[in-house]
């Protein structure tokens, strides 16, 4: 086994022989690109906060619309079938009360989300302008 290629077949052997000739004097050129890869991951921590805001907004978008019907998971419970049945009945009985509230909440969530997205865009523009200065 060579230090760069995993010699797992004849093609790797051919490449190994040919690359030695071609690669001479290119080590210094490579350094710039090798460092780019390292930098990409180092800078990861510095921009965590900004990225998290974006991810949080994506997450909020996914959760903004609250559903009135949730999956009831009956498995693993004692008297699970009866409990499951009772829960379904209760859910149907309170539907007239819950749904208008949820609808109002959804309206508020979506409006808030729209404002946050707009603010995030504006922050981004301001940051870009600040960088130019």
């Amino acid at each position: 086994m060579n230090d760069f290629l995993l010699i797992n077949n004849e093609a790797a052997e051919i490449i190994e022989k040919k690359i030695k000739k071609k690669y001479i004097n290119k080590e210094n050129i490579s350094e710039k690109w090798d460092n780019m890869s390292k930098d990409f991951n180092m800078r990861k921590d510095a921009v965590t906060e900004i990225k998290n805001i974006k991810d949080m907004l994506t997450e909020m978008s996914n959760n903004a619309d609250i559903r009135t019907v949730r999956q009831l998971i009956p498995f693993g419970e004692r008297y699970g079938k009866i409990r499951f049945f009772l829960r379904r009945i209760i859910r149907k009985l309170i539907k007239w009360y819950i749904e208008p509230i949820v609808s109002d909440q959804n309206k508020y969530n979506n409006e808030t989300l729209a404002v946050l997205k707009e603010l995030e865009k504006r922050i981004e523009v301001l940051e870009r302008n600040a960088e130019k200065l």
């Binding site: 990861k44 921590d45 079938k81």
Partner: protein, 355 residues
Amino acid sequence: MKIFQIVSDLSYGDAVSNDVFAVDDVLKEYGYDTEIYAGFYSDKRIKKKIKPINSIYNKISSEDAVIYHLCIGTEITDWFKKLNCIKILRYHNITPPEFFYGYNDKLIEITRFGRQSVFELAGNVDFAICDSEYNRQELIDCGFKNTSSIPVIIKFDDYRQKPSEEIIKRYNDDKKNILFVGRSAPNKKIEDIIIAFDYYKKNINNNCRLILIGSDSVPSYTEKLEELINNLGTGDIIRPGHIKFDEILGFYKSADLFLCMSEHEGFCVPLLEAMYFDVPVIAYNAAAVPETLGKGGIVFKNKNFAKIGEIMNLILNDEKLKDVIIKNQRERLRDFEYDKVKKRFVESIREVLPK
């Protein structure tokens, strides 16, 4: 006796979902009564084949078997652990949380929870079928006893469908097409593909194009990749996102080289897809990648971009070398033939099913 397949998320076209459907077809072919249950699924193309996980209540008897596909942290794992039936784990691996540091806290939490739950499953399943030896070793390290390694079941006939002519027409020009297929996630190290391409284009051959196919699964990572692309100013980097199947086939047909820099893969189906379309593969030696490639493809052990660029150039311009690689890849691909894998899977599963 019935065989239930359970998975947390099912979508159209990803490796785990395809494996679930392929296992279902295989088991039905061998006369087993089967059903698929999933926690989340929304794609219209697969809806008819799946039932919601909450409707599984009271359906599993002690004589039945449950195959649980594990690839992410979910509460289903705990429920599966407590089941009183024949329990088979199909382990596809879970991306280590450290890849998501600085990108997505929720994914860190889910993947950490998922990997912890693997330890808890040890001693609580009858059998574990991993899709690679790499994954199997992970389970053994977690304390699993009865394990086997059988690759993802792939219906290569699906790839015989007509590829998108529009894609072929647009990209089959004099430029060398370098391809990668995989969702945009930090473990795939797409930044290294972009950097390798940048080196190749700026120092060796300007007449080339990079095609990155895959859905955006971590928005903050994708954004950082976009920033890198803009800063480098390389040009000719195509990112069509999540596309139709015939378009993927079109891109494979147009590709001259498949470059994989991924640092964590439990199997890596796109490597086999590239081999199927006779696209020479070069890949970084990490996780299950060298195992999947076997004697096909070229594997490098460190990311020296000048050397990677030279290898790319050699393969793209030396027809004899390309032929040798393709010959090796075709030979390796035989190990993953649908009938072979299907037979192995059924033989393996029969060991724990009642006679």
